[in-house]
């Protein structure tokens, strides 16, 4: 059991990071920390993907000059997925940060529970 964990340490670490990010995004009251949690969660998934695409002893899949045999390169698809995922998470982070700025300008706090209380009083 533990042996498996050590053999697949990239995957194990990325799952731990995913858990940290997920719980931070769900439970933390500070909105900036929530966004950090979101980014940790997404990065954990990218680490997992990158670890899965890597094949020991092979090269980066960038072809220069002639096209040699594919056995020399690592799997390029997970890398492509990571790039797409980074674009997605950057845009989502931007939206979240802009929302945070708007809420902070209005209520002068980053605590989402406190803001909920202020909003309820507003009616």
């Amino acid at each position: 059991m533990l042996g498996n964990l050590f053999a697949n340490y990239y995957e194990a670490v990325s799952m731990i990071l995913f858990g940290i990010g997920f719980t931070t995004l769900l439970l933390n009251r500070n909105m900036i920390k929530k966004i950090l949690g979101l980014n940790i969660m997404d990065t954990a998934i990218y680490l997992f993907l990158a670890a899965k695409g890597y094949i020991f002893g092979r090269k980066v899949p960038i072809v220069t000059g002639t096209v040699p045999e594919p056995e020399k390169y690592i799997n390029p698809i997970p890398t492509g997925l990571v790039l797409t995922g980074i674009v997605v998470s950057v845009s989502v982070t931007a939206v979240m940060l802009s929302l945070t700025i708007r809420l902070y300008r209005r209520y002068r706090t980053l605590d989402i529970d406190e803001i909920t209380r202020f909003v309820k009083e507003e009616k």
């Binding site: 990010g21 997920f22 969660m41 998934i45 989502v92 708007r102 809420l103 209005r106 209520y107």
Partner: protein, 497 residues
């Protein structure tokens, strides 16, 4: 390949392009562009539907120059055609009906952004319906989330910005789970195209390999989508998001966004995992229990509510519960009932949200029951539409809601297990609860009070009336002529597997 096969791709790209263009247009022009675009998508989707019904088989459309296991694909069958057509219709009517209120609720310089978001949302909805690639589905899920969050916060008061923040947080939790599910399944099968994944998973399941990872993958994807579509315990963001945003946004969010995710889940069930493996994994039992709980707790929360918009929002929780209960039966008939309920709920709920905004317009823009009394007389089309919607939600015969309840009950009777008893009893209780709060709402809007709100010069807008009449017609069509639609759904599900 016929020319019609290009239509799904055209629609998606056209929506994305007009979304970009609309950002520099004036609000009026942007509205015209948006309405034209949705109409074009409607016509195209209907052509796709007719084409697939005629040929009797689904077609795949290669995106780019790489064939199947490497490239990206679009796939369209009868069910995709039905969904795309239906989404376009509801989107068009929600824009037409709520157009006047966009002008009232949203600040002048931001009005064209509403249409930008609507166009982007439509593109992501269509892409979710048509795509044959799981990772593309994830990307468009995120685009959908951003566009939906934008539609909530476009009305910039504190409630909406906070609701949007809460919506984004819950949605991103859901998409995180969905993404890790997709990643794990890529690790297991090495494919991202739905048909290839299904073949690999069938082999794995037949050999009895990797049963635990497979269950984890199914669980992660299902829970991710359940969070995003506001299944019962994950519905905390819903009431604020639907209750305070502008009427069109609420209508679009409740009837299209959450439904598109459920449709994606159905696609995952049929086209990615395969129904047998999915139903064997017992995750359907979780759907069933949460669905049933949602039916009850959603209705209880709705009964306690004094705010009409929030009441309708909580009723959505109950209705999403119905859909998940249908999925939870794990039978063919249950799926048909669930898909039909997606249609009937989408048609009814968007009508209710827009009508409710029409009623509150003649009640000093307030939404409490006490202020809305007598508003059915002050704004007649909104009153009629609201009553039709309320009767449909309760499940009175002739209306759409009746047929979906009929199918859900017959699906329950077919299962012959504990689920049957639970489902039938909870359906009965939930119908009574629905009747309690919806009939109360209808009575209160037709109680002749609040004469001080009466404004003799008030005329309901033309587009509002057109929207309401079309919504009512759709409701009756779904209620009275359901057989061709049910047939199409059955045929579409058959094409899926």
């Amino acid at each position: 390949m016929d020319f019609v096969c290009n239509f799904p791709f055209f629609c998606i790209v056209l929506c994305l392009a007009t979304g970009v263009i609309s950002s520099v247009l004036k609000p009026k022009v942007a509205k015209v562009v948006s309405v034209t675009l949705v109409s074009v998508c409607l016509v195209c989707s209907f052509c796709v539907l007719l084409y697939t019904v005629e040929t009797g088989e689904a077609f795949t459309y290669m995106m780019g120059h790489f064939p199947a296991p490497f490239g990206n694909e679009i796939r369209a069958g009868v069910l995709e055609g039905v969904m795309a057509t239906f989404f376009s219709v509801i989107m068009l009517l929600a824009i037409l009906g709520g157009e006047k209120y966009i002008k009232i609720d949203v600040e002048e310089p931001k009005q064209n952004l509403v249409f930008v978001l609507i166009n982007l949302l439509l593109s992501s909805l269509l892409a979710l319906v048509y795509t044959n690639d799981l990772f593309t589905a994830y990307v468009f899920v995120e685009i959908n989330t951003i566009a939906a969050g934008g539609l909530i916060m476009i009305r910039s008061n504190g409630h909406c910005v906070l609701a949007s923040m809460k919506y984004m947080i819950m949605s991103l939790l859901g998409s995180g789970l969905l993404l890790i599910g997709i990643t794990l399944q890529y690790d297991l099968t090495g494919h991202l195209l739905m048909s290839n994944i299904k073949d690999s998973i069938a082999v794995l399941a037949a050999n009895g390999e990797y049963t635990v990872p497979l269950t984890v993958i199914i669980g992660l994807m299902s829970v991710g989508i359940a969070i995003k579509s506001a299944l019962f315990p994950f519905h905390a963001w819903l009431a604020d998001a639907y209750g305070y945003s502008t009427a069109s946004s609420a209508a679009i969010l409740s009837s299209l966004v959450s439904k598109a995710y459920i449709f994606l889940l159905i696609k995952i069930m049929y086209r990615v995992i395969g129904t047998e493996v999915f139903w064997d994994s017992k995750i359907t039992n979780v759907f069933f229990i949460l669905g049933v709980a949602g039916m009850l707790f959603g209705s209880f929360s709705a009964i306690k509510e004094h705010d009409m918009r929030r009441m309708i929002a909580f009723s959505s929780v109950a209705q999403i519960g119905y859909i998940y209960m249908g999925l939870g039966f794990g039978t063919e008939l249950g799926m048909v009932a669930a898909v039909f309920h997606i249609l009937s709920h989408a048609a009814t709920k968007s009508m209710l949200f827009v009508a409710c905004r029409g009623l509150s317009e003649v009640s000093g823009n307030k939404k409490d029951f006490s202020d809305l009394k007598g508003s059915g007389f002050r704004n007649k089309p909104a009153g009629v539409a609201f009553s039709v919607g309320a009767f449909s939600m309760v499940g009175v015969p002739l209306f759409a809601g009746f047929i979906s309840k009929l199918y859900l009950t017959s699906a329950a009777l077919e299962t012959m297990s504990v689920k049957m008893a639970v489902a039938v009893i909870v359906l009965a209780i939930s119908t009574i609860l629905n009747a309690l709060y919806f009939i109360r709402a209808v009575i209160s809007i037709y109680t002749p009070r609040n004469e001080h709100y009466r404004d003799a010069s008030f005329r309901p807008g033309k587009t509002f009336c057109v929207g309401m009449v079309c919504f009512i017609v759709i409701n009756f069509v779904l209620g009275l002529a359901s057989f061709p639609i049910i047939n199409a759904i059955e045929q579409g599900l058959h094409m899926f597997s």
